[in-house]
Subunit: 333 residues, 2 copies
DNA sequence: TTGAAAGCGCTAACAC
DNA sequence: GTGTTAGCGCTTTCAA
């Protein structure tokens, strides 16, 4: 199990270990004959660079900490996938941490990552409070947020243009002939405030009445959307379309509608937000607004690399355009 | 950005830096007054242990490499979630790598992980060939596989009892009154051979005729299940239930059935395998066999820790029991 | 072109 | 109880 080190190779090659290091790092100041001989020897002996030791002297670990509330979530696992692929393509590896349900754990994992000497941190914040909560630590290391939840903070982030997304969706419903559109769901985080704003803006421009439905403690989950919708449908339905603030909420509403024999899209059109993978499933086919996850991940990694490698100061807010995914839950009036 | 080291604290405290190290590590050979004073000082100065340096001397990184074909997959992201939580609870952190679509990349990431000096590797293999492919590397570091795809290899793994799963499901259909049950889907990996075997065993015991349907190149995806099912349904339906080898295939079949106005479960009962999250969605509600993902992850981490911390040699095959999740796609005859 | 040696931040064995 | 020091495996000046 004892792994072979530079010294071992050096001894076998009859050179100093500095020479071996040079051969491997592609330094120009070494004879090409020596280099080849050494590289061949390294291969034979099964030598692999010890990154811990290298990190020690280089003061760079080529490690990126990825913090997500829960990797077991379609949006985040997709983001993580692209982030890891992109990071690795540039020589970085990913240290993954779930920031769990409570804010306390979020701070804990960031601390751990700092102790691990990661070169940078990519974080999907749990809540708008996250920024303040971990500021003391993120000041010490290049950090990029993925989400718009910290709109007014001096911190880099990449996010989808949430406001634009609901605007596009509302406009789409309008073009389909809908004039009574209900906005369904949470408005408690920055992200969701922006979504609501896009809807309001569209209503204003198009001369529609703004109508909201949400409970005080609304969360984004199918179960919660279902409960909210049951409550909603106990009142008369005097609107022809619903814009749900998240796909999960939309799916919950769909379930409630099914149970109460409200046909979607015949009686009611429905549009969601996020384009989580469930929306494309048979029997669901939810029309929705897509967050460009792949792009978000790649851009976030690029921004982080820029900070790490070029020491770029300041912050940038990278806003990506969401797109409308037409499926089967909206109909023309 | 320069972080504070032991030396800095030592200087500030007016002691040697070994003393600071002792205070922090909870060594008994130190005065409790000195300890408290130092700990307080560390806190004030914002000292955090440099894990890279520590790993260097301890020859232990407290790092576990997690290799999955694609974290952007419900089964794996759920596994990853529990693995990370459990690992961290025991002082380990997770280095995440996607082994991507090709076998070549799988070997690459394992090599990287080795260079990173991870204490152990947790791997969901891409294919039955994985074992042979990376053997040279996994011999050098404690490794636990998650999957049954290497049944006869001298290597530790944790997996669900796939054979038992299909047995249970077939028995369930039998008890519901079904006598003509078709097995639908792939049989090309060890995992899927075992699933098919469980079905065959149940058929034998219960006196049912074994009936298979699968295409040569069947893969587990909704799209593929859909194509296969369209083909299947172009022939007369002389069976009353279908056991799909994976939930994805089952969902594809569901879609095809909808299109061809074959009612499930009225005309045809359907059961899947895996209990991926999509199965519990409204309108889908697929009856299925659950792989105990949480348990699998936790057991895998425990096995790995045992190897790492106690140097346990040999290998163990940990087989967990799957369970039947009754939902809405099976009916009694 | 190559070797010698310092030093990254830490732990632990050995002194006192 | 506390200080001194070697050394983990590597990169990189500085000499030769």
């Amino acid at each position: 199990m004892k792994s072979v080190t530079l010294k071992d190779v050096a001894k076998a090659a009859g050179v100093s270990y500095a020479t071996v290091s040079r051969a491997l790092s592609g330094s120009p100041q070494i004879g090409s004959d020596t280099r080849e001989r050494i590289i061949k020897l390294c291969d034979e002996m099964g030598y692999t660079t010890n990154y811990v030791a290298r990190s020690m002297v280089m003061k760079k670990t080529d490690l990126i900490g990825l913090v997500v509330p829960s990797i077991d979530n379609q949006f985040m696992s997709e983001l993580a996938y692209y982030a890891e692929m992109s990071a690795r393509a540039h020589g970085y590896n990913i240290m993954l941490c779930n920031s769990g349900p409570d804010l306390k754990q979020e701070k804990t994992v960031v601390k751990i990552l700092l102790g691990r000497q990661v070169d940078g941190i990519l974080i999907v914040p749990q809540s708008p409070k996250t920024y303040e909560n971990i500021k003391a630590y993120t000041d010490q290391v290049p950090t990029v947020f993925v989400s718009e939840n910290l709109r007014d903070q001096p911190q880099s982030y990449v996010a989808a243009d949430n406001s634009r997304g609901t605007y596009i969706g509302t406009k789409y419903l309008y073009d389909l002939g809908h004039r009574d559109i209900l906005y369904f769901g949470r408005r408690h985080s920055t992200t969701h405030q922006l979504r609501a704003e896009g809807y309001m803006k569209a209503c204003q421009e198009l001369g529609l009445k703004q109508r909201f439905y949400n409970s005080e403690y609304s969360r984004s989950s199918i179960a919660h959307g279902y409960e909210m919708a049951k409550e909603l449908f106990s009142h008369p339905i005097d609107y022809t379309a619903v814009f749900a603030s998240t796909d999960s909420n939309a799916l919950g509403l769909l379930k409630a509608a099914d149970e109460m024999h409200i046909s979607i899209p015949d009686q009611l059109s429905l549009i969601g937000f996020d384009n989580i993978s469930a929306t494309s499933l048979p029997r669901l086919e939810l029309t929705t607004i897509e967050q460009p996850k792949r792009n978000m991940a790649i851009q976030a990694v690029d921004m982080l690399r820029d900070k790490i490698e070029n020491g770029t100061q300041g912050y940038v807010h990278q806003i990506l355009l969401p797109t409308l995914i037409k499926r089967s839950t909206c109909r023309a009036l």
